[in-house]
């Protein structure tokens, strides 16, 4: 129990304090009063049903992008392709919607979701195949493919999918009402279907890595791939499959973000979430359950930053600054004190 407490203090208490102090300094430099701003931020993030709904919407996208980082990381792979995978998912899902815009909800919803998942999986598998069979660095490949995906998206909405009369800010046609994912309301807090899917994914991954033989195999691959050869594990196939699986999560986020938030396919809908997911995964040390908590926290920060910009007259980039402060503080606290010669 005491160890648990010490652990929480070290892992959560110390970084939180550090971020608060640095953020306070940042606010003072901008001529704002830190105490009241923190209170305002907290209420913008978690106070009230509207704030919570907004936070949850941000958090689930961050969580899904975080899973795309954590899952490969548990096998020693670094995936920074969540953005490309979000786009791939949104494009694949939108293709179904545009193809059968008048299909009934019960047909369209599963089809567009599955199509999005397939799109993300293929996008991830391209990266995985490069790593496994052609010795292409997966970090670089996944990062570069983000640009490819973004450009392809631009092409689609400026070309074949451009809605007539969308002018300087081209988008696709608006999605039909049948393409709107279900949103449940609990005590006035809105929870959309992707929250349920994300939590199922978290539970499944947690179970897989804690209670199955596959989790043990993943450990071998993470800590010494040569050891995996003793277990006769087809390491290349594992790389391919895991990168493909990882692509599914941001893809879900991509289609749900497009439908729920934007209502149409447009450029830039994905911005900020990959970095958020990366930070969340990294603070959680790739632990799937901890990732839920860190995603909520960052989701709250995203909501608060939006509100601050409107209410407190702070620059729009305040959220990014605080995100950066979190990275710096956690990085400092986790660096070994002394590196022996």
């Amino acid at each position: 129990m005491r160890h648990r407490l010490q652990y929480l203090l070290r892992e959560v208490g110390a970084p939180a304090l550090g971020v608060l102090v640095l953020a306070a300094i940042f606010f003072l430099m901008n001529g704002a009063h830190p105490g009241s701003l923190f209170a305002q931020m907290f209420s913008d993030a978690f106070g009230g049903a509207f704030s919570l709904s907004q936070t949850l919407l941000n958090a689930v996208t961050i969580l899904l992008c975080g899973l795309a980082v954590s899952l490969p990381a548990r096998l020693g792979l670094i995936n920074v392709g969540a953005e490309g995978e979000m786009i791939a998912g949104a494009i694949a899902g939108t293709a179904i919607i545009l193809w059968m815009p008048s299909a009934p909800f019960l047909l369209l919803m599963p089809l567009m979701t599955l199509a999005a998942m397939a799109g993300g999986a293929i996008w991830g598998a391209i990266i995985g195949a490069g790593r496994a069979y052609f010795n292409v660095n997966e970090t670089i490949a996944s990062l570069m493919l983000n640009f490819v995906a973004a450009d392809f998206l631009e092409y689609l909405i400026n070309g074949p999918w451009e809605a007539p009369g969308s002018g300087n800010w081209p988008t696709s046609d608006p999605y039909p009402p049948n393409a709107m994912p279900p949103v449940f309301t609990f005590a006035k807090v809105q929870v959309n279907a992707s929250v349920v899917l994300a939590l199922i994914a978290v539970a499944g991954l947690f179970f897989w890595f804690t209670y199955t033989r596959g989790g043990l195999i993943a450990r071998f691959l993470l800590h010494n791939a040569r050891l995996a050869r003793f277990a006769q594990i087809p390491a290349q196939r594992w790389t391919l499959i895991v990168m493909g699986l990882a692509g599914i999560f941001p893809a879900l986020a991509g289609i749900y973000q497009s439908t729920l938030v934007e209502g149409r396919l447009q450029a830039g809908f994905y911005e900020g979430y990959m970095m958020g997911g990366f930070v969340a995964a990294w603070i959680a040390r790739n632990d799937f359950v901890a990732l839920v908590a860190t995603s909520l926290l960052l989701g709250g920060l995203f909501s608060a930053a939006d509100a601050l910009q409107l209410d407190a007259n702070l620059p729009a980039s305040t959220g990014i600054v605080i995100e950066a402060l979190i990275i710096v503080v956690v990085l400092l606290l986790r660096t070994p004190k002394r590196i022996s010669a």
Partner: protein
């Protein structure tokens, strides 16, 4: 020149007492051999002197004055240098850049480097490197050298700093006879120059060839101390608790049956061409050669650890060469060289490392934190028989000393059902008692009907245990001996490039 005194040194790692009130005195101009079983505390004691570990209690005195050595940097300031077992050269950099980084004559940010590269190296350093590795190519990147050469270069890196106290941690674990010969000569010269040398070793030969004094450690304490000339082989072996007596396993052995356990035909790749071998059930085949003759690559190809370009491998009656992508061929035990890199994940528990062979037998749903309860009983027995220390299977494997880690791999690879076993330097870094245990285990595996292939650095061991010995040089088989015809002179002659005597 300093006299080094370590007084009443104690050191614990958790519950494990590594050094228990050890006092020693070292004199300049002498080579002291430090002997003991695996885990007896030899390396730890020297790492205390080198500042790598801080002792829990006790004093270090140089020339009678107490000094505080808190880090290797402190130690080096006092002229104390140690060549550790773990590599420290940067593999991706060429040798000359590696040496420049550490050469005391090239210290300081103001040192002007010309575009001449190698020519900037001080003459003394070039001469020194050539002395230990004749004709060494300074432009080659470090990873391109073979293991023994790298070990010698590690020594070069340290001795070019002109140490007054030089500690070598088991160089003979990696170096073959030829390389050790050069090292002995070099150490003798250092002794003349008044350097204080400590040689941590398991090999009686090291003591005979160059030591003036012998310290033996056992179970974290200093067990005995004597002049080398009074320390004959039997006495030393006795001190190190070798079970003694003639070798029982080698005298009574069944004849190999006619059935084939392992075979390779036309194996090509990694510099080897058209290698063919057939090992029968109950047969033990040895491979002898100077290190770097391609033995490790051959064994790795035969086991499926690295791919061959072409050829066919059969284990039992099954053709397995198509299975390469999945790893070690099914039905084979494989003990690779450098097990810490090649066969162990240090961050995982010993249990996880043992279970790697049984992953397919595990239920698909299980609680992974309980893995130490899941290790098969016969594997546990083997781990106990080989006296792996510490024996708690839930501890990280990376915490084991080199010898114990080697034993863990031996236990794992001999402990599962297999038609054949391939062992590469299986006793490197082990104390004599454990070496005999491992050799007898391999022999017993053959007696139980497996085919065994053993790459070994010691010709005597090969002659004692193997039914047949292949001599390799420059990635070719240059001679085959059976038990009756094998003699060290002919084998050595072939290994070094001479013609077969017969």
């Amino acid at each position: 020149m300093p006299t080094v005194k370590l007084e009443r040194i104690c050191k614990r790692f958790g519950d494990n007492v590594a050094l228990d009130d050890v006092s020693i005195e070292l004199t300049p101009g002498e080579i002291t051999a430090l002997l003991g079983e695996n885990g007896a505390g030899k390396s730890t004691l020297m790492k205390v002197l080198y500042g790598y570990y801080t002792a829990d209690s006790g004093r270090v005195l140089l020339d009678g004055a107490e000094v505080k050595i808190r880090s290797p940097r402190d130690a080096r300031a006092h002229g104390i240098f140690m060549v550790m077992q773990s590599p420290s050269l940067v593999p991706e950099l060429p040798l000359f850049e590696n040496l420049m980084m550490f050469d005391p004559r090239m210290r300081g940010a103001g040192t002007l480097l010309t575009p001449h590269g190698v020519r900037d190296l001080p003459d003394a350093t070039v001469a020194l490197a050539n002395q230990l590795v004749p004709g060494v190519d300074f432009r080659k990147r470090v990873f391109e050298f073979d293991l023994p050469t790298i070990q010698l270069l590690e020594i070069v890196k340290v001795v070019m700093c002109e140490p007054r106290v030089l500690i070598l941690d088991e160089p003979s674990a990696i170096l073959g006879n030829h390389e050790m010969r050069r090292l002995y000569d070099y150490l003798a010269k250092q002794r003349e120059a008044g350097v204080l040398v400590v040689l941590i070793t398991h090999k009686i030969r090291d003591v005979r060839e160059c030591a003036d004094r012998v310290l033996v450690m056992r179970k974290a304490r200093l067990a005995s101390e004597r002049r080398a000339n009074s320390a004959d082989r039997e006495l030393l072996a006795d001190m190190m608790a070798v079970s003694g007596g003639a070798n029982s396993a080698s005298s009574a052995r069944p004849l190999p049956s006619g059935e084939e356990a392992f075979s390779a035909r036309g194996l090509t790749g990694n510099g080897w061409r058209d290698f063919t071998i057939s090992i029968l059930r109950g047969e033990m085949v040895g491979i002898a050669g100077i290190s770097g003759s391609g033995q490790t690559e051959l064994a790795a190809m035969l086991s499926g650890f690295i791919p061959a370009t072409s050829g066919e491998i059969r284990i039992g009656s099954k053709r397995v060469s198509g299975h390469f992508r999945n790893g070690i061929f099914p039905g084979l035990g494989y003990i690779p060289h450098a097990p810490r890199d090649n066969a162990i994940a240090g961050a995982l528990s010993m249990a996880d490392n043992l279970l790697v062979r049984y992953v397919r037998d595990l239920p698909s749903v299980l609680k992974l934190s309980n893995n130490h309860l899941r290790v098969p009983q016969r594997l546990c027995t083997r781990v106990t028989d080989l006296k792996v220390h510490p024996p708690q299977l839930d501890l990280p494997a990376g915490d084991l000393s080199g010898g114990n880690l080697q034993k863990l791999v031996v236990a794992r690879e001999l402990g599962h059902d297999a038609h054949a076993v391939i062992a590469v330097y299986p006793t490197m870094g082990l104390d004599p008692a454990t070496q005999e245990l491992v050799h007898n285990d391999l022999r017993a595996a053959a007696a139980a009907g497996k085919g065994v292939l053993m790459v070994h650095e010691d010709l005597e061991v090969l002659r004692e245990y193997c039914d047949r010995i292949l001599v390799v040089a420059d990635r070719r088989v240059v001679g085959t001996f059976d038990r009756s015809s094998a003699n060290a002179h002919d084998m050595l002659n072939l290994m070094t490039g001479g013609k077969h005597a017969a």
